[in-house]
C-alpha cells in the first residue's frame, strides 16, 4: 500500500519537468497544465492500486500527453474541421519513450518553462506569481495569501501575465549555448526574487515565508540541470545560508534580531553544511560571479561561532570583489560595515560619505551612517542621521529594527562615557 503523502510529494517533485515537457508538446501553457492535472488525477487512482512507477515524471508525461490526445481526438470527431495547426503540432506524439527521457532535453524544457515566467515585459510583481503558479504549482489561493491580495485579484494578475507571455511568443527550438546561458541568468534572478519575497516576510507571515523554501527547491532543480555552473552553486548556497538563520531572525515577540544578537545554535546546521559544500565545489572553477561572492560572504558569517569571531577582513575583501563585479552604492555601504570593524569607524565613514547623494532616500544608509557617527562620539550628527532613517523606514518592522539599533548604540556610548 502506497501512502497518499508519498504520492503528493512525488507529484510536487515531478511537476516542473512534467509540465515543461508537456509544454514542448502542446506549446500552450494552459494545455500543458490541463494535461498535467489529468495525469495527476490518474496517478492518484493508478498508483494507489498498482504501486508507484519507477520513474514518476516519465509516467506523468506519458499519461498526460495521451490523455490530452484523447481529448483532441474526441473533439475532432465531434467537429467537422479539425484544427490543422494543433494536429500537426501533435505529430511527434508516437515517438518512443526513450527520446523523451533525455536529460539534456529535460534541461532545456524546464529552463524554457522558467524563462517564460520571467519575460522582460512582465514586472516582477507578475513574474513571481506566474513562476509560482506554473513551475511550482502553488494554487492561486496560496499565492494570493503570500502576496496579501484577494484570490480574484491574483487570478487576474496571473491570467494577464499568461496572456502577455502568449502574445510575446517563445522560441521552442533548442537554444544555443549563448542563449541558454542568457536564459539561465534571467531565471536565476527570478529564483532569487522568489527567495527574497520569502526572506523579507515577517515572523508571522507563514504563507509568504514558504516562498523561501520554494525558491530553494527551484535552485536545487536548476543545479541538477546545470551541475557544472559555479553561479548556480553560488545562488543555491546563498539561499541555503541565508535561510539557515531563519529560526533565529525574530524573537518571541516577532521583532527582528540583528545578526550579532542571534542565537547561533538555532541556525540550521544541515543547510549550512550544504551551502558550504557547494561553495567549496564552486571555488574550484576559479570563476567568480556575484551570487558566489555573496554566498561566500554569508559563509563567513555561518562559519563564525560567535559574532566576535567573524572574519571581517575576509568579508571586506569579498565585498571589494563584489563592488568590482556589480558596482552599486548599496554594496559599498555593506562593505563599509566590514571596514568599520577592521579599520575603524572613520575609514568606514570616509567610504560612505560620497554615497550620500545617491543613497539619500535609503534608510539603511542613514542608519549605518548614524551608527558610525555615534562610534566617533558625534552624537548630535548621529541623531540627525537616525531621525532620517526612521522617517525613511518602509515598514514598522524596519523602524523598530533601527530603533533598537539606535537605542543600544546610545546606551553603549553612555556606558563608554561613564567608563
Amino acid at each position: 500500500m502506497i501512502e497518499p503523502g508519498w504520492i503528493e510529494a512525488a507529484l510536487t517533485a515531478s511537476r516542473p519537468q512534467a509540465v515543461a515537457a508537456l509544454l514542448r508538446y502542446f506549446r500552450d501553457l494552459d494545455a500543458a497544465e490541463e494535461a498535467y492535472q489529468e495525469a495527476c488525477l490518474r496517478a492518484l487512482k493508478n498508483w494507489t492500486i498498482n504501486g508507484p512507477p519507477r520513474d514518476p515524471t516519465a509516467w506523468l508525461i506519458m499519461v498526460g500527453r495521451n490523455a490530452a490526445l484523447d481529448q483532441v481526438r474526441k473533439r475532432s470527431r465531434q467537429a467537422p474541421m479539425p484544427d490543422e495547426a494543433q494536429v500537426s503540432d501533435l505529430e511527434d506524439v508516437e515517438t518512443p519513450m526513450a527520446e523523451r527521457l533525455d536529460d539534456s532535453q529535460y534541461r532545456d524544457d524546464v529552463l524554457r518553462l522558467m524563462f517564460i515566467c520571467c519575460h522582460p515585459d512582465l514586472p516582477a510583481t507578475q513574474q513571481i506569481p506566474l513562476a509560482l503558479r506554473i513551475v511550482s504549482g502553488l494554487s492561486v489561493k496560496q499565492i494570493a495569501r503570500a502576496f496579501l491580495v484577494s484570490e480574484a485579484a491574483m487570478e487576474q494578475r496571473i491570467t494577464r501575465a499568461k496572456a502577455k507571455v502568449a502574445e510575446a511568443g517563445v522560441a521552442f527550438e533548442t537554444p544555443g549555448p549563448v542563449e541558454r546561458s542568457e536564459r539561465l541568468g534571467v531565471v536565476m534572478q527570478m529564483v532569487y526574487l522568489v527567495f527574497n519575497e520569502g526572506y523579507s516576510a515577517g515572523p508571522k507571515d507563514d504563507a509568504r515565508a514558504e516562498l523561501a523554501d520554494e525558491a530553494i527547491r527551484l535552485g536545487r532543480l536548476l543545479l541538477r540541470m546545470f551541475q557544472a555552473e559555479p553561479e548556480v552553486m553560488g545562488l543555491l548556497a546563498l539561499m541555503l545560508l541565508q535561510h539557515s538563520r531563519n529560526a533565529a531572525r525574530f524573537d518571541a515577540s516577532g521583532e527582528a534580531v540583528l545578526l550579532e544578537d542571534q542565537d547561533r545554535s538555532k541556525w540550521r546546521a544541515s543547510l549550512i553544511q550544504e551551502g558550504l559544500a557547494l561553495i567549496d565545489k564552486a571555488m574550484r572553477h576559479r570563476k567568480t560571479g556575484a551570487y558566489l561572492v555573496q554566498a561566500a560572504i554569508a559563509a563567513l558569517h555561518a562559519r563564525a561561532r560567535t559574532f566576535e569571531e567573524t572574519d571581517w577582513s575576509g568579508i571586506d575583501a569579498l565585498y571589494a570583489t563584489l563592488e568590482r563585479l556589480q558596482p552599486s552604492p548599496v554594496v559599498t555601504l555593506n562593505r563599509a560595515v566590514a571596514v568599520s570593524k577592521t579599520k575603524g569607524p572613520q575609514a568606514a565613514l570616509d567610504m560612505i560619505e560620497p554615497l550620500s547623494d545617491r543613497l539619500s532616500g535609503y534608510f539603511h544608509f542613514h542608519g549605518a551612517r548614524g551608527g558610525l557617527l555615534l562610534m566617533l562620539g558625534k552624537s548630535r550628527e548621529a541623531r540627525e542621521s537616525f531621525d532620517r532613517a526612521i522617517a525613511l523606514a518602509n515598514t514598522a518592522a524596519e523602524a523598530a529594527h533601527i530603533r533598537m539599533h539606535i537605542d543600544r548604540l546610545i546606551a553603549e556610548s553612555e556606558r563608554a562615557k561613564q567608563a
Binding site: A13, M233, A277, D280
Partner: protein, 136 residues
Amino acid sequence: MMYAVLCYNNEEMVCGWSKEQDDAVMAALSTVHDKWETAGKLKPSIRLLPTSAATTLHKQKDLVVDGPYAETKEALLGFYIIDVDNLEEGLTFARELGRANPGGAYELRPIQLYLPGSPIAGAYATDRGYAGEKAK
C-alpha cells in the same frame, strides 16, 4: 556478517520536504535506529547531502567533474569516510587511492549527518573470514 544498507529514494521529493516533514521522518527512523543500536547491531549510519553537492573524480583521466557518478555499468563496491579540511583535500585522498587502484571513479559526497552507532567488535574491524583464517 556485516551489511551496508544503501538508501535510495526520489531525491527531488526528499529535498522538497519541509523541515517539519523531514523532522517527522527522522523521528520515525530514530525509533528503529534506537532498537537496533540497543541490540548492538546498528553501526555507523550516514545521511548524505544531495547529489547536487557531489563531485566525481574519474580515476584514469584524473578528470574532476561536478555532480554524482552517473554510469550504470559500474557498481558501488565500497566507500570511505574521511574528515578533511575541504573538497581539495578530499580529492587529494581520492587521487592517491586512484593511483593505488586505477579504473572507475570516486564520488565525493558531503555527509549531512553521521551517527556513530554501537561500537564495532574487533573481529568485524577486518574482513571476518580473513581474520578468522589467520587466527587458525
